[in-house]
């Protein structure tokens, strides 16, 4: 589902994001990418959604060779990957419902399908009752659930979450992790980038540890070891 072969990302002479990273992630896997700040976790996410291009190596996501993806094809790639960001990245002048619907609108989905799917997804994340609220009227946990709803609404095969619990308290973190587990059970491949030790240890899933831009361990059922 996701394949990185000898991927290196160099920003400049003093800043190297990733060094010779090779990862194979199969369909339906739940993979945690862990590591301290500045070890290249976010660089990895940016490479997966083509926000950055690798300096060297080969990347394939969901059958797309995105190593040298054309600028105009990037939106089509992103419509097939659900992405969750630490800072939520919600559209502030759109309501909860509109934020979720936006992911379908950009893909040109019919209004009837949007009217059918959005309430169901919002119901799954428990936010249908707040459909007309604006992001700044929601708590951090609620905002993150809207982001999850937005990233799931077009039924992506891959969900990439970059520090999704970084701004949340432990209760909200547990709720979000439960949602992720459920999504994974439905067959969605999940790449969870985090430095939250508790989350990783509770999940008991595959853990890839990055240090200084390199993979230092890859365990099928791992723990946070740093």
């Amino acid at each position: 589902m996701i394949s990185l072969r000898n991927v290196t990302k160099i920003y400049n002479r003093d800043s190297v994001g990733l060094k010779q990273v090779t990862i194979q992630i199969l369909a339906g896997e739940f993979v945690c990418i862990v590591g301290q700040s500045g070890t290249g976790k976010t660089t990895l996410v940016k490479l997966l959604i083509a926000e950055e291009r690798p300096t060297d190596g080969h990347i394939e996501v969901g059958g797309w060779n995105i190593t040298k993806i054309c600028y105009n094809d990037i939106p089509f790639l992103r419509r097939q990957i659900g992405v969750i960001f630490q800072d939520f990245k919600l559209l502030s002048r759109k309501t909860v419902q509109e934020n979720v619907a936006f992911a379908l609108q950009v893909a040109g989905e019919a209004q009837t399908r949007i009217r059918d799917v959005v309430p169901r997804v919002l119901d799954i994340v428990g936010l249908w009752h707040k459909k007309n609220s604006y992001p700044d009227q929601l708590s951090g946990g609620e905002q993150q659930r809207v982001v999850i709803a937005r990233s799931l609404v077009h039924r992506p095969k891959i969900l990439v979450a970059d520090e999704p619990t970084g701004n949340l308290d432990s209760i909200n973190t547990q709720e979000i992790m439960q949602i992720f587990k459920k999504i994974n059970e439905f067959g969605t491949t999940i790449v969870l980038v985090t430095h939250n030790r508790e989350v990783v240890n509770q999940l008991r899933k595959r853990v890839i540890t990055l240090h200084d831009g390199r993979i230092i361990s890859d365990q099928a059922v791992g723990k946070y070891r740093l």
Partner: protein
């Protein structure tokens, strides 16, 4: 087609939900359009003023009483060949005498002396008006040849040459100043509109990059801004046009007192309405759209 309607829907939604910024943008566009239109009014008034002064200048060619109709016709034919001449008004001897009598109707002494002469002492007169004051010199030079020295008594140009030269210089300077002012104001308007749109886009830079990350194509992101630019232009043009027309109507009575001509401003705006509206509309639209696209370019590189 669905995307097109969504783009329009998003544009309208953005305008309403960001009402203060939308109103501020429209207000700035109106202020800029008003300043450009004020310059149009100044140019119209300057043009009228210089035309009024130019129209007051003429050159009279006085023929000798002995000049025959044939000789006068030769001179008139020569003058007709000059494209610089706007009007050439001819008064024969009888008309000149009649004019003299009318002018001095209250002066019995002069009229008595005229009667005592027993014959018409006046020659025919030709009053010439040229398009530009500086053209007079050329006309007068063509008449100052020995061939016509016997039939042309005097030419008034020599007396008013200095005044004409002075007026020519003044009108030219006024015209230059108004062109300079127009260019200056258009540049200021351009810079202000450019920066207003840039600031408006800058405040939305995060939204733009989020849309891109969610999978929107560049045109799906740009579309609402282009529609907004079109709507802002239409609103500002409509309001400005109404205001300018209202101000022109208000000023016309005062202007007509000065130039002895009625509805100068409203006539100008009505007769040039298509050109003025289309030129301003296209200029503002191109400027707002181009600025939006330029300002957005950086934020779309996600």
């Amino acid at each position: 087609m669905i995307s097109f309607f969504r783009v329009i829907q998003f544009a309208l939604q953005d305008i309403v939900r960001n009402l203060s910024l939308s109103l501020m943008t429209i207000l700035i566009l109106i202020v800029m359009l008003l300043s450009v239109n004020t310059l149009f009014i100044i140019r119209v008034l300057t043009f009228e003023a210089t035309q009024t002064v130019k129209n007051r200048i003429d050159v009279s060619v006085y023929f000798t009483p002995t000049a025959t109709d044939e000789q006068i016709q030769t001179v008139r034919s020569l003058l007709n060949s000059f494209p610089e001449i706007n009007t050439a008004e001819y008064f024969d001897r009888g008309q000149v005498l009649e004019q003299f009598r009318t002018t001095h109707v209250d002066n019995k002494g002069i009229l008595q002396s005229l009667d005592e002469l027993g014959e018409n002492p006046f020659g025919s007169t030709l009053i010439l008006k040229t398009r530009e004051p500086e053209d007079y010199k050329k006309i007068i030079q063509s008449l100052s040849v020995p061939e016509y020295s016997d039939i042309i008594e005097t030419k008034t140009f020599a007396d008013s040459e200095r005044a004409i030269n002075r007026i020519t210089i003044i009108t030219r300077q006024v015209e230059r100043a108004s062109v300079f002012l127009t260019i200056f104001f258009v540049l200021v308007a351009f810079l202000i509109i450019f920066n207003t749109i840039r600031v408006a886009i800058y405040t939305q830079r995060r939204e733009i990059s989020i849309k891109r990350l969610v999978g929107a194509t560049n045109w799906f992101i740009r579309g609402p801004y282009i529609v907004e630019a079109i709507l802002f232009t239409i609103f500002s043009m409509a309001i400005t046009s109404l205001l300018v027309f209202f101000v022109a109507k208000l000023l016309d009575p005062f202007v007509s007192v000065v130039f002895e001509k009625s509805n100068i401003l409203t006539t100008y705006f009505i007769s040039n309405i298509l050109l003025l509206l289309s030129a301003q509309f296209v200029a503002v639209l191109v400027l707002t759209i181009a600025t939006s696209l330029l300002a957005m370019r950086r934020h779309l590189k996600v």
